[in-house]
Symmetry: C2
Subunit: 289 residues, 2 copies
């Protein structure tokens, strides 16, 4: 893991965003806000939605398909759902010019990166990215030009990644205000299983276990703890199953902890409960607000 965070020279003259949703739309909005002068081209499966995003000024033009978008840009960001990224990157790579840099914004990296290594036509480079920013919202209507500011982006180069391409990719995310961490894809997935995918399951199970007829008696604690359960089930099925192996390990580690709490309550063991709550508070305090 290494962190660097200085701004960098140009990373692209034109950017294609494949999938103009919350993340893709926020990338486009951020590029505009920060003075990126090249065109931002949007592509996606729903023409009507793209036209709305265009009307809002998020993207400069609409490409008819991924190939058309890819052939007009030297940086391509695939921000479609996790289970569509590999095919979209392949479609873009087939159509792009040599020297084009491709990346994604998927929350899981190992499967995507493995599927794409050695699989791209000559001249194009794919490096995985995961900008750690988002919300339970979906769609470009919630795009935010500041979404990435001050957040971390993980990039997952491997031994064959050309240094120049990696340099450009890092410059791109830094341009959007992010700190960039380099990390092997498998290490990323194991960590995110704990910091993101496990919390999603914990929050969703909580929202499932507490029925709405009790919500009159729910305070801010329940609201905070379950907020991410409002995320898109389709998106999250893709993420959770794509990282199933690491996720299962994280779920089991959590279940074990939860069981520790249960046993302390069942035994009315105040000292043990105070200890478990104490570690939790210490950890959470370390995270800050």
């Amino acid at each position: 893991m290494s962190r660097q965070s200085h701004p960098s020279p140009p990373f692209a003259t034109s950017v294609a965003v494949i999938g103009v949703g919350l993340i893709g739309g926020s990338i486009a909005a951020g590029l505009k806000r920060l003075g990126f002068t090249g065109p931002v081209i949007g592509a996606g499966r729903n023409r009507a939605r793209l036209e709305q995003a265009h009307a809002r000024g998020l993207i400069d033009s609409i490409a008819d398909d991924v190939a058309t978008a890819a052939s007009s840009a030297d940086l391509i960001v695939v921000s479609t759902p996790v289970d569509r990224i590999v095919e979209d990157v392949r479609a873009a790579a087939d159509a792009c010019h040599p020297g084009t840099l491709l990346t994604d914004a998927g929350s899981v990296k190992q499967h995507i990166c493995r599927s794409l290594e050695n699989a791209l036509p000559g001249g194009a480079t794919f490096i995985g990215s995961h900008p750690l920013a988002g919300s339970e919202k979906r769609g470009f209507e919630h795009a935010d030009a500041h979404l990435f500011e001050g957040r971390v982006c993980v990039v997952t180069p491997d031994g064959r990644t050309p240094p120049e391409a990696l340099h450009r990719l890092k410059a791109f995310w830094r341009f959007l205000g992010m700190s960039v961490l380099e990390m092997p894809a498998d290490e990323h997935d194991a960590a995110l299983a704990r910091t993101s995918h496990l919390p999603h399951v914990a929050a969703a199970a909580l929202a499932d276990a507490v029925p709405p007829d009790l919500y009159e008696l729910a305070g801010t604690g329940f609201r905070d703890t379950t907020r991410i359960a409002a995320g898109s089930p389709d998106l999250w099925v893709g993420i959770l199953l794509d990282n199933a192996e690491s996720l299962l390990a994280a779920l089991d580690a959590y279940a074990e902890r939860f069981q520790d709490f249960r046993e302390a309550v069942a035994r009315r063991d105040a000292a043990r409960l105070r200890q478990l709550l104490g570690v939790a508070k210490q950890n959470r305090d370390a995270l800050g607000r």
Copy 2:
């Protein structure tokens, strides 16, 4: 369960707050802000802290002990930790004048209400209250004159509660901006086990299961989901153990749901996972922001 929310005529000429922390301090601050003209008297175990609260203008005077405070007020609010409420109410009741109304602000009600029924000297009435407001913060420094505004307060009268006392109690919480729900103490505890105590355990177990060395990779989801784990371990040991029986049922219901998610992931069962996440989203959407 019944809800009423109209403002009401005077509920007290002077209020004693036993325990001037986040809740007690916010009650005092709210009374001032809303133009309560009678004195607000503070009592508690730490004289130096009370003097600071007095210097801040939260309370008008400091009583040397609970008995002194109780003898100077016609409404006494005991806002000490759950495991001290019964003894503080008893101490206050022993010293107060006939007609004095006593209440508390504890998160668990059954044990407190049972311990106090038939146990008070003639002329004083205790009715349990639980204002559903707070934060993971502690201490009067975080007192907020608006803390209760728009929130729900549960009150737990029983068959012997004098209607006039209940009327005054409801007027008091409404004066602070709350909607008041009447509910039997056991029903309150069963509901709060799910909406509040279970989420606390789930959040704390999560903070325990994800070590700080991964926090660089934690996003807003993890922050939200674990926020309440920063609450005071001492306060929460008291709450959780005072409601152990209902809590265990809630923990088990949650563990079962969590296990459903785990099995769906283990079987890579996208349809089942989508269904579980769909119910969670539907419930969470029903709660609103």
